[in-house]
């Protein structure tokens, strides 16, 4: 089952920030990483990643620079900034809270019935 579109959109920011916290990366590689981690079940249309990256850059959570790849292609590499790392921490807290709340409900349910 594929992940719901709204959930994919909501998780885009923490996902991108988490991947960039592993190190500098570029659009194509970020998409591949998401697909690899989710087993292809969190696929959003590839182009939608770029507006997310640009928004994060404008919010000064990440920064970008043009660089030539090993194959000589011009690529825009993105790197997480301190402010981005702090924002990621915040996202982690929120997502963990949502997850643990749901988990408790779903685990408690059998006992109630």
């Amino acid at each position: 089952m594929d992940v719901n579109k709204d959930l994919v959109a909501a998780s885009a920011t923490p996902l991108v920030l988490s991947i960039l916290s592993e190190g500098e990366s570029y659009g194509y590689a970020i998409i591949k990483r998401v697909n690899e981690l989710s087993g292809g079940k969190m696929q959003w249309s590839d182009g939608m990643l770029y507006p997310v990256l640009h928004r994060l850059e404008r919010q000064e959570l990440i920064r970008s620079r043009q660089r030539l790849s090993e194959t000589g292609r011009k690529r825009k590499y993105y790197k997480i900034k301190k402010k981005g790392a702090a924002a990621l921490k915040n996202h982690k807290t929120q997502w963990t809270l949502v997850y643990s709340t749901l988990k408790q409900l779903w685990e408690d349910q059998p006992c109630l019935t």
Binding site: G27, Y28, I31, S45, D46, G47, M48, Y50, P51, H54, R55, R58, R73, K74, R75, K76
Partner: protein, 238 residues
């Protein structure tokens, strides 16, 4: 025969038809598209199949434009402001260049010994045809997106900006000179009284032209509102 580069150029065009993408965005998306095509062709897909799959994975042009519009609000505004400014400048250029042309015509006709109503008619016809010719020429240039490309190319570096300033200055001086010199000469030849009468008739003609101009402008605007990209509608050529 499928030509990958040609298809990529068409695909780029379909993106730049939308106001929301900056050139840097399109470059970044193209880099992504080409990378995906490379990966797919390495997996034994033909270039054509790879292009189709990669373009499909990148997403529908309209949907992408919608997403980019949320982030690129200023790019959109900049493009619109550019066109407004270009429109005003083009109108001024067309007006003053046609005045210059009509005065030069009148001057030459006066030298040739033409007087009276014939001279007036020559002046008015010159004015109107020069105006129409200039507007058409500018319209042709606009359609090619040439001024936009040149403008942004010039805006990139200091030398480009200086060149634009110098050209603008020369143009303005040329326009002013074209209006003053033939005027002085013609007044000298035909006399102030006749020239005054000529100017009165020219004013009537210009009044008429200024009524016609908004109509022409509306028609041009209708032509300029480009149809939706054929690529976005019919998908890519096979």
């Amino acid at each position: 025969m499928f030509d990958l580069n040609n298809q990529v150029i068409k695909w780029r065009q379909s993106l730049s038809d939308s106001e929301t993408f900056r050139n840097a965005d399109i470059d970044e998306l193209e880099s992504h598209l080409r990378e995906e095509i490379e990966q797919l062709t390495a997996r034994k897909l033909s270039e054509q199949e790879a292009f189709w799959v990669a373009a499909h994975r990148l997403g529908d042009t309209q949907a992408l434009a919608g997403e980019f519009a949320k982030v690129n609000t200023s790019a959109r505004l900049q493009k619109r402001l550019f066109w407004i400014l270009a429109g005003v400048l083009f109108y001024l250029a067309a007006t003053y260049l046609s005045i210059g042309a009509s005065r030069t015509c009148a001057f030459m006709a006066a030298i040739a010994g033409i007087r009276g109503y014939t001279l007036i008619i020559i002046k008015i016809v010159c004015h109107a045809s020069a105006f129409v010719a200039i507007v058409l020429a500018l319209y042709k240039t606009i359609k090619k997106d040439l001024p936009v490309i040149l403008f942004f190319a010039a805006a990139k570096n200091l030398l480009g900006k200086i060149i634009v300033l110098v050209i603008t200055f020369l143009l303005i001086s040329g326009i002013i000179a074209a209006q003053i010199l033939p005027l002085r000469q013609t007044v000298g030849i035909v006399g102030a009284e006749e020239y005054g009468r000529m100017m009165l008739f020219t004013s009537y003609a210009r009044l008429a032209l200024q009524f016609i101009f908004p109509l022409v402008l509306v028609m041009v605007l209708f032509r300029l509102s480009r149809p939706k990209s054929p690529i976005a509608q019919t998908q890519f050529e096979t």
